[in-house]
Subunit: 214 residues, 2 copies
């Protein structure tokens, strides 16, 4: 008859784990993953240090779990909403708009979580670096696939250089995030939208409408 | 007759200061400005902790001096080489090429110094944040001015949106740096050059040559 008690403990552990991760993604998006410490989290959340430690094992494990949690939130907010859209230019546009809204709306208080931690871990080897690289590659690949599908659907010129266009869209999005967070102003999001619309207009075949940026 | 000795001490102080800053810009470009500590620098450079402390006073002063030193190096490597070029599209192109070369050649071991520390300090208020914001604003303003001068010289269409074009050029450069440092590969630099050449070609009046990216 120990199962219910065990389940309760597992359930409680999962809730605490989620409580910790809700906090760590926020901290890391502002201060970076190095700012995460078991002691600080225990204090801020009113938990025991040993309890937090038991759930994550090490600072590195905590950092890796934080990267995974941020990836889950990112997928939920940016990728899932466009997954059911039919392939095409409008889907690329909505993906970019969704990303800019994710940054602008401060889903993470420091702006894009990955922008922050990529700069932090780009030149430091190790498992956290690898997890961050993987997340960035997955996102780039998703943007590329969305552009490739728009071309396959006949909405972009056949000679469209898909990785080049994806690179340029990502450049506009990420720089908008960086500038907007740094200067606490929003002009950069408009510039990104103007640039993205211009790139899509140049690549789209005639008759495929590209939204106007007001 | 104490002046020569005093001068000698000042001179020695300046040399030590430069020795410390040569090291801090490198560390900060890889690990961020928070990784700078008087103790670590003293140990790595074989200096006394009190000596380093006497030269900089505090960790914040050390961080600020490091931002200033990085700005000096950046100006020397990226801005000065194009200052004597006549205004025009080619000057914009050479400025962008110089920036990409500065990133690719790892003038700072972690890639662009400012890319690293902007992500670190974007959401943290204080004097270091302000210094980093100022450096980023100065650079943006310089790119904008170079584009505006090309338009004034009659080489860009009169209706060219200067801040928009400058934003797009900066986006391509910075993203190339971010991607290249993260994935340790150089395709991104080529993508940035292709994008920059396309932007300049679209904005340039007829007969103004824009370099081809091979």
């Amino acid at each position: 008859m120990s199962m219910p008690r065990l389940d309760g403990r597992v359930e409680r552990g999962n809730r605490t784990r989620q409580l910790v991760l809700d906090r760590t993604v926020g901290i890391a998006s502002v201060e970076g993953l190095e700012a995460l410490s078991v002691g600080r989290l225990a204090m801020e959340l009113g938990l025991s240090k040993s309890g937090v430690f038991a759930l994550f094992g090490s600072k590195e494990e905590l950092q890796l779990a934080t990267v995974r949690e941020a990836g889950r939130i990112f997928t939920e907010r940016v990728v899932r909403p466009v997954m059911t859209h039919p392939a095409g230019v409008l889907r690329v546009w909505r993906l970019c708009e969704g990303w800019l809204e994710y940054s602008r709306g401060r889903v993470f208080p420091g702006g894009c979580f990955f922008y922050e931690v990529i700069a932090e871990f780009d030149a430091r080897p190790g498992p956290v670096h690898d997890a961050v690289v993987r997340a960035q590659r997955d996102w780039s690949a998703y943007v590329e696939r969305t552009v490739a599908e728009a071309r396959a659907a006949g909405e972009l010129h056949e000679d469209t250089d898909v990785p080049q266009l994806a690179f340029e869209l990502i450049a506009l999005m990420e720089t908008a995030n960086g500038v907007a967070v740094l200067h606490a102003e929003e002009t950069a999001y408009r510039r990104a939208r103007v640039g993205i619309a211009a790139r899509l207009r140049a690549a789209a075949v005639d008759l495929v409408p590209v939204p106007q940026v007001p």
